[in-house]
Amino acid sequence: MLDQAFEALKKFDYGTPLSDIQAIEDAVVASNKDEAARKAIEQRLIQALGSPISRDAKDYICRQLALVGSAASVPAVARLLANEGNAHLARHALERIPGVEAEAALASAAKSLTGKLQLGAIGSLGVCGKSVAIATLANLLSHTDSAVVRGAALSLGAIGGVEAANALQSAMKAVRGDKNLMIDALLSCAESLLKQKKSKEATAIYSALAEDNQPRLVRLAAARGLLACAGA
């Protein structure tokens, strides 16, 4: 059944009944508690991804690798990040594949790609990024394209933590125009710090944002943050 499904995958395209390849999904689900089976199905999916198949077939594989993929899948999936047709599902998979390899692949794409593909990679780093992504995103805060700066700031805010906050605070000093985006991201960082019980670090951010030179709504958010830091 599974062999037939992989055979069908070679001809799979938009409009083909999903029932033809249902056995692949069944095998992915069945491998949930069987490491050997997971590796086996992952290998077959990687192999198929490298073969000349349709865009929809590749998307389908990315969806399955999001469930069973490991570091071994990263190179094959990362190659799709530069492909406008498959980049979205490739990021979908990489955001969910555990380990630093996926994060590193996305960071590399965020540096090397341009346009919407670059923004997509930056956004994905905000979803799955941990420490590795921060340096890449911090560098992008000084990018000439404002959309890239915006994406990097939002992703740093989503990642949160002290390092992300430091990167944002450093970059904010250099910003001459609208700082609201950076401030939003900083508030996100402070909230994540608060969740991690790092109230001292969160207090430092909120205190800076509570100063009189900040816009009213920022001061209000900071005031509420300071109350939360103090245990309210």
Partner: protein, 457 residues
């Protein structure tokens, strides 16, 4: 051994008290809140007030917050008092009480309301004073506080006060007892139903309508007999009917009311027939019908009046028979008007059944007054057929105005009007041409445009 025990005491005390970092956090929080309270921007103050309402627990903190009251502007004072009330810590009470003499009404009102949460019987005189001498808002705030104030003896105290206070305060205290659902004070409320002041009597009847029990009916009837005819009597009857409704079984309800009526002097019993009508039910209908058809003319009037107040159309045939059989013009008028009234009741019958009764009434109508009554009451049958029934009367000069009014009332109901819009538009045009009342014309125009109309209250 003893020395070793003593050695542990300071350590135990230290462990029981707040750890240093917890204390520091609390101090930081209180400082932040105090700072926010004096902010001129109300949204910043709101952030601090939210903390006062929900966290930063402890009497010492409460006192610190309350101590800010004299330093604040009236708007901020009002908000802080409200938050302290919601916090519910009696430690704020002294500071809140001081604000009862504040120059600003809004602050005094907030303080009175807060006493509902943090006050006790000790504040009773202040609240009664505000209820008696305060501004309209202070009176409402004081009543609100007395309604919410917790404590087993609060209702008892209000009940006692209601016996001796001035009439205008007495009626308010009775309303408060009802709002507190103070059934334990029912004897006090029942006694007030025979008060010399009509406002007190009315308040007591309203209170019993909310919390009275069927077993108290016999004790309440003297209050009904003391009520003045007209609005006060109608109000009292409505409330007693509400008490009767707490007996769910219709027959049991009828039996209970008859039993209570038997405790009243026979000469007064007929006066209570109107109440029987409001309660309704099969068990009572024959009881009242006997009176309505008795040989005594004055008793018959009471009986017909009672049947006219029936909550459904069940006495319709009895009333029509009385109307047709009587040789007395006044009785005919009373019985026919009662017949039309009960036929129009919006009870369990559907609109078509109601309309059939109206058609029957029109056939039985003998003069213009009776026909006018029928056309007028047809508005309670929300059906296009009702409009079709009334429409021909637009051409009768003496009935055209009441027909105009009824058609406008029927057109008010979208569900009746919209499915037959074209037909209604034609008849509304006729109403616009014929009606002498500006409001009906305006309403007819609005309904034609698919607009609604807000009834003046």
């Amino acid at each position: 051994m003893k020395i070793r025990s003593l050695f542990w005491i300071p350590i135990a005390i230290a462990l029981c008290s707040s750890p240093p970092n917890v204390q520091a956090d609390n101090d930081a929080l209180v400082t932040q809140v105090v700072k926010l309270l004096s902010n001129s921007d109300h949204e910043f103050r709101a952030a601090g007030l939210e903390v006062i309402r929900t966290s930063a627990k402890g009497s010492e903190n409460t006192k610190t917050f309350a101590a800010q009251l004299p330093k604040l502007e009236p708007e901020a004072q009002t908000a802080l008092i409200s938050a302290l009330g919601d916090r519910g810590d009696v430690a704020a009470k002294p500071a809140v009480l001081e604000q009862l003499t504040n120059k600003q009404e809004s602050v005094r009102v907030a303080a009175l309301i807060a006493l509902g949460e943090i006050g006790s019987l000790a504040e009773f005189p202040s609240l009664i004073n505000a209820l008696q001498k305060g501004t309209n808002l202070e009176q409402k705030a004081s009543a609100s506080a007395l309604i919410r104030m917790a404590g087993a003896t609060v209702s008892e105290k209000i009940g006692m006060e209601s016996k001796s206070a001035k009439p205008e305060v007495r009626s308010k205290l009775i309303e408060i007892l009802a709002a507190r659902r103070a059934t334990s004070e029912a004897p006090v409320i029942i006694a007030a139903t025979t008060d010399d002041d009509s406002a007190v009597r009315t308040a007591a009847m309203n209170a019993l309508g909310q919390i009275g029990q069927p077993e108290q009916l016999a004790a309440i009837l003297p209050g009904l007999l003391k009520s003045s005819r007209g609005n006060e009597r109608n109000n009292a009857e409505r409330n007693i009917a509400e008490i009767c409704k707490r007996i769910s079984n219709e027959d049991e309800r009828g039996n209970a009311l008859i039993a209570v009526l038997n405790t009243v002097d026979a000469s007064q019993r007929d006066e209570l027939m109107s109440l029987v009508g409001r309660v309704g039910g099969k068990r009572l209908i024959s009881f009242v019908a006997d009176i309505a058809t008795s040989s005594d003319v004055s008793r018959r009037a009471f009986g017909i009046d009672a049947l006219s107040k029936w909550p459904d159309a069940s006495p319709a045939d009895t009333l029509l028979k009385i109307a047709n059989d009587t040789k007395d013009d006044a009785e005919r008028r009373q019985a026919f008007a009662a017949f039309v009234k009960v036929c129009a009741n919006r009870d369990n019958r559907n609109d078509k059944q109601r309309l059939e009764r109206m058609k029957q009434a029109m056939k039985e109508a003998r003069n213009l007054e009776e026909k006018t009554a029928v056309i007028n009451r047809t508005r309670t049958a929300y059906d296009v057929e009702s409009m079709r029934f009334v429409r021909p009367f637009l051409d009768e000069p003496e009935l055209s105005q009441i027909a105009c009014e009824t058609i406008v009332e029927l057109a008010h109901h979208r569900n009746v009007r919209n499915p037959h819009k074209e037909e209604f538009d034609v008849v509304l045009d006729k109403v616009i041409a014929l009606a002498k009342n500006e409001e009906w014309i305006e309403r007819a125009k609005r309904y034609k445009r698919g607009e609604t109309w807000e009834r003046q209250r």
